[in-house]
Symmetry: C2
Subunit: 737 residues, 2 copies
């Protein structure tokens, strides 16, 4: 039976949502992910498999991008000569040319990480065949992918032909990344190996087809590829099973010389386990994931499903066995933002993993450690000291934010300033890292890797601030509210820098006390002289924090309230950002805010920022000015509103956040899952509604659940131990194990 | 705040679902209903208002149909010269010709019976206006309809023009029903009166517009209609309110001579109450409806909403003040089935009303009483005695089933036999009527009206049965399974006739004991001689009930199992009926069943039909042969499966039934709500999952709730008293008041 509130379903086929659903139905295992495209061709589909870490800078593209890897899915089936395809849905005329789809259901079982598509198809001959396509990418052995197609002859005695291949002729929306494609084949097997044309990564995939009939591989000369094929007859009510096993390696896993051998060895072991064996091991890993990552909500099915959906998408993207890659803003589920890593990862995606899968959080933080060289290079190139992380990051660790947008409808490009000016990323990384440390108590990580990041980014800020007007200022910034570019004294940045330097000093004290040798090593390596630390203290004391004493509110940046006021709520029920409605050039001269900025600061610092009264003033000031032009915004508002007792707004924002991908509110899910919105939803629930925080003796909660919710049950790791917590409405907190 | 699980929402605009949503967003008050079409024109929309009882037989149409009445909705708004319309959704180019829709949300508040549409619109001038359109048809005063449009100038200082009119130039998909259209107007008022061209019903509507500016009515000569209009300027952030009050009467309410005066009197009183006053009285009536009609399900939001949705649609269609009309198969929400009344009403729609709104159930049953003449006419015309109700019924009470279908894709028409052969309708009415009597104890109704129906339809059956082969048989029937036409000895019909005659005899005994004068009157009037009653007893004893002793199953009709077997489950996940897949002519020669037939019999008679073992055998035999080609089927299966302990099937069928209109599974919701499926869902929940039945001392339950449900709370009337019942999972039954 279908697992209730664990299943994403498409019924019947919705071709108008093709690309949206391809994103939603993505499967992955933290090594790679594959969009929910079909085994057969379908016009307009965006077949995409992305393997972590395989970046390439193609000709004609402004910046490097995560490469669309070979398409391993193709299995083309012909029934009495009619190619199976999603055509003529519900056409009941007796013999429509091309056949007809008479039934269709697609389900993604989030609990098991298994995608199933069932189709009832009538061939031109009149034969009716029921096809079911099941696939998974093994969470147990991440080099193994598997497909199972079952065919039942429902009416007639059709002749079935099956063709399987691996397609390396894929692009990133036209950009060519692959070169030196070589293929090999033998009986039921095919292998394809190729290199990226600039970065020189090698990728190999091999497949083995198990099917009735005489399975053989031949060269399809027209398409220049080896094709494994077979044919057989099905009598009425007979069933046939077709299995395709795929192995995949890159030169990040194994040397290019050894790669072909590894591909075939892995196929042998997969065949040895068999489809059911592989599936069983895969399911066991998923069950272990959900044991700690599942949040159970009683009393709100929509929220329950939304939570599981976002958690699934974080889990399939988070690398398990690799600490040298990270999760891009669109996860691995689409080409949007080119697979680049933003602050989205540290402030939105890492915290849920810190709480429920700390090993995965550590991998993501280590990715930054391995890129300190790039961060130092960026600091140096900009005339600063220490480590200045790039706004957009890839494999190299260098800044990869494009300087220009894609052409706008009128043909002109817009200058993108975030790579220059959105500098808070370095502090976001420190925040996430220290949060990880506090929850996990992973001193080993901190001492060997993390401290260096926190301290060297502090060094950067020490060199970055400007001493003028008798105080410290930071000019030319972009805060989370990216509608206002290159402003001076963004409160988000200024205040977080104070927080950062303060934490850096506390960290040094802790190291001196608990790991003196490492403290010494770092002081020396990063040149943490007493004079430098004194300057940090001076900055902490004298940083300019824009504040309106009369109104008792923080000011997003000086001058903000002098701009045109636009009452954003009056633009409801808009389906666009107010920026899109008013146009770029007008909106940047108004008080319209793209996303939580001061509100985000409140989420991160809570009452450390200001007393509750001021926080409430802030929220009431900025909320009606925010158009949530970024998907990151609603969840942060839900979190903060809940903690401030603004229950209606909190729930509305929570619902908004939960619908971003499932309902495609922004119309861009085709380009991939909104990873930050996903992690944000998770945090809004735990840090917002449940009021989860780390107290002296471990996790504490001050719940404020939506009125109609009955309870929330979740698990968090605290210093290596699982803590199971259940909060109920009316409030009661029950540690359940 | 939006009422949770009470609100149907469309966000943003889904033009591809235009007609589907027009049906879902229908509002009504039991006197008339109006589809959710827009105030402005939209290509392809099916503007429909239907007033109960107004039938007409137009030229070129095979049978009479419920008439599409005047469209009272039109309010055309122009903003800086740009006509407001749903155009260029999300077009952000600065000045798209025709303007652009930048936001859209539509909500139907089921609790209050209020439809709201909010739109953000940019005129060609660049001015942005937020429009909200609210409407309701008063449940308090059913001759009053009201609209409130609010406009806010969000950006710019637009010049607003408003035009309002009533449109009598409407058709039923091309069929012309109205003639003698006369209009009158004065200041802010317009009235339109017309007659149906065959049946001679008179309909009048009048409107009064309240709006800023100089409101005046002028003749629009191009369109030959009076138009009420005004214009005014809105400055940025200014709000304008426009109200349209509509009154409506037919010559069924008032004599044609008095009608114009009544229209204006009613407008005066509506204006006196004001929009808010009218709305308040309307909401109070709705609250009273929901007090007894709302079923609360804890633990399943989808089912909860589905229940409220179907209950809403039954309530808006059920006549409150009129016992001479009934609810058609598609309620008042679409033109499907021409507003005709089928068995759907008595076996699907009446029972929920019997339980929760007995006054409305009585109205529907009285409709049949008033049509005994038609039923007697049909019996006589066919050579039988007593009363033989028509398969399809309108105002006249005569048989109005068309004999031929609309042309099929290949141009030919199919002969429709249901009007000739689906004779079980007479017994269905008796069943519903006696169920009403048992629950309500409404002896007055029974004695004065109901008994005559039960007895005279029994007289019909006494004359209808055929004595051959030493037993009673009934040839040339169609049972609920309409795929098998003109078969002999349909078990549904034969067995229900036995039940019917038995109940008739019991009823006569009851009348003799409790209302001897009326018993005498009826015996005389209906000629219930001892010989006739003896024959009934003989029929009861000797009716042929097809049964397979070896398999211990009932046989749908002799010969059924000799036809080709088609394993219906193998056709999943079909989106079509198996009949549509195999084609009419092949499928009727197979064992594929359109809908619950033997299973329906089991729902109606329970263990009165057979011991539980046989019922289980029956279900297991017929379920895999049923393709649910009728929307009536899944709910009946849910009911019976639940009572037989087949929990998985029960819930699957329940979900299926709940999605029929909301998800448009059958692709025909454009033609109206599936009224029987709606009432069926309600019954599946109460009679199935809750096991509700009438015991010696009142309502009893034997609940078997779906695993994940926490509880079900509902109210039923028993002999005039409200009984509030709550069943929980695990099982506990709590009378809550």
């Amino acid at each position: 039976m279908r697992r209730r509130l664990w299943t994403l379903e498409e019924f019947p086929f919705h071709p108008e949502k093709l690309n949206h659903y391809e994103t939603l139905f993505t499967i992955g295992n933290g090594y790679l992910a594959t969009r929910g495209t079909f085994e057969e061709d379908f016009d307009g589909s965006m077949a995409t498999t992305m393997v972590h870490g395989v970046f390439n800078h193609a000709q004609g593209v402004l910046v490097p991008e995560l490469v669309n890897s070979f398409n391993w899915l193709p299995i083309h089936i012909t029934i009495d000569g009619t190619p199976f395809q999603l055509i003529n849905q519900n056409d009941t005329t007796p013999n429509p040319p091309g056949g007809a789809v008479l039934g269709y259901r697609r389900t993604l079982d989030l609990y098991r990480g298994v995608l199933l598509r069932e189709v009832l198809f009538r061939a031109e001959s009149g034969a009716i065949v029921r096809l079911s396509f099941e696939r998974f990418v093994s969470l147990h052995d991440y080099h193994v992918l598997a497909q199972h197609i079952q065919l039942v002859a429902v009416d007639g005695n059709p002749e079935i032909e099956v063709e399987s291949f691996i397609d390396p002729h894929v692009t990133n929306a036209g950009a060519q990344h692959w070169t030196d494609i070589t293929t090999d084949y033998d009986d039921a097997r095919v292998s394809v190996i190729a290199k990226t044309n600039q970065s020189g990564y090698t990728l190999g995939m091999a497949s083995h087809l198990v099917a009735p009939g005489k399975v053989e591989t031949v060269m399809d000369t027209a398409n220049q590829r080896p094709v494994t094929r077979t044919s057989f007859t099905l009598r009425t009510e007979e069933t046939a099973d077709v299995y395709k096993f795929i192995s995949v390696f890159t030169n990040r896993d194994v040397s290019p010389v050894a790669l072909p051998g590894k591909l075939f060895d892995k196929l042998d072991s997969a065949l040895g386990s068999g489809y059911d064996g592989l599936l069983q091991a895969h399911e066991a890993e998923w069950a272990a994931y959900w044991d700690t990552s599942d949040i159970q909500i009683e009393g709100d099915d929509t929220s329950q499903f939304a939570l599981r959906f976002v958690t699934y998408h974080i889990l399939i993207a988070a690398p398990r066995h690799d600490d040298d890659v990270s999760v891009g803003a669109k996860t691995l589920s689409g080409l949007g933002y080119k697979g680049h890593v933003f602050w989205d990862t540290e402030l939105f995606i890492v915290p849920p993993l810190t709480l429920t899968q700390p090993r995965l959080a550590r991998n993501l933080l280590m990715y930054r450690y391995h890129r300190l060289a790039g961060a130092r290079h960026k600091a140096q190139a900009n005339g600063y000291e220490g480590a200045m992380f790039p706004w957009e990051s890839t494999d190299t660790g260098e800044e990869t934010t494009p300087q220009w947008s894609d052409p706008q409808p009128d043909g002109h490009r817009i200058r993108i300033w975030t790579g220059d000016s959105e500098q808070h990323i370095s502090t976001d990384i420190a925040y996430s890292l220290l949060q990880y440390w506090h929850w996990t108590g992973d001193h080993d990580f901190l001492i060997r890797y993390g401290a260096e990041i926190v301290l060297d980014t502090a060094v950067f800020w020490g060199s970055r601030v400007e001493h003028k007007n008798g105080r410290y200022e930071i000019s030319q910034q972009i805060g989370p509210d990216e509608y206002h570019e290159n402003i001076d004294n963004s409160i988000f940045t200024n205040r977080m820098v104070v927080w950062h330097l303060n934490e850096a000093l506390k960290l040094l004290d802790w190291l001196n006390a608990n790991a003196p040798a490492d403290a010494k090593r770092l002081i020396q390596a990063l040149d943490l002289t007493p004079a430098r630390l004194d300057k940090w203290r001076d900055i902490i004391a004298n940083m300019f924090i824009p504040f309106d004493e009369k109104q008792q509110i923080h000011i997003q940046f000086p001058g903000f309230f002098e701009m045109e006021f636009i009452p954003v709520p009056h633009y409801e029920p808009r389906t666009l950002s107010v920026q899109a409605i008013l146009g770029h050039y007008r909106s940047i001269q108004t008080q319209v805010i793209k996303q939580a900025d001061v509100v985000m600061l409140m989420a991160l610092l809570g009452e450390e920022l200001a007393p509750r009264d001021v926080l409430l003033n802030n929220f009431n000031t900025y909320y009606p000015r925010t158009d949530h032009g970024s998907s990151l915004s609603p969840a942060m508002h839900a979190w903060v509103a809940s903690q401030l007792g603004l229950d209606e707004i909190a729930y509305e924002m929570f619902e908004h956040a939960g619908a971003i991908d499932l309902h495609d509110n922004k119309g861009n899910v085709r380009d991939g899952i909104h990873g930050a919105a996903s992690g944000g939803l998770f945090q809004a629930l735990l840090f917002g509604f449940c009021g989860l925080r780390l107290g002296e003796n471990g996790p504490e909660v001050t719940p404020r659940l939506p009125e109609h919710w009955k309870s929330v049950s979740f698990t968090v790791y605290y210093r290596g131990e699982k803590r199971r917590i259940r909060v109920t409405n009316p409030v009661a907190v029950v540690p359940t194990a």
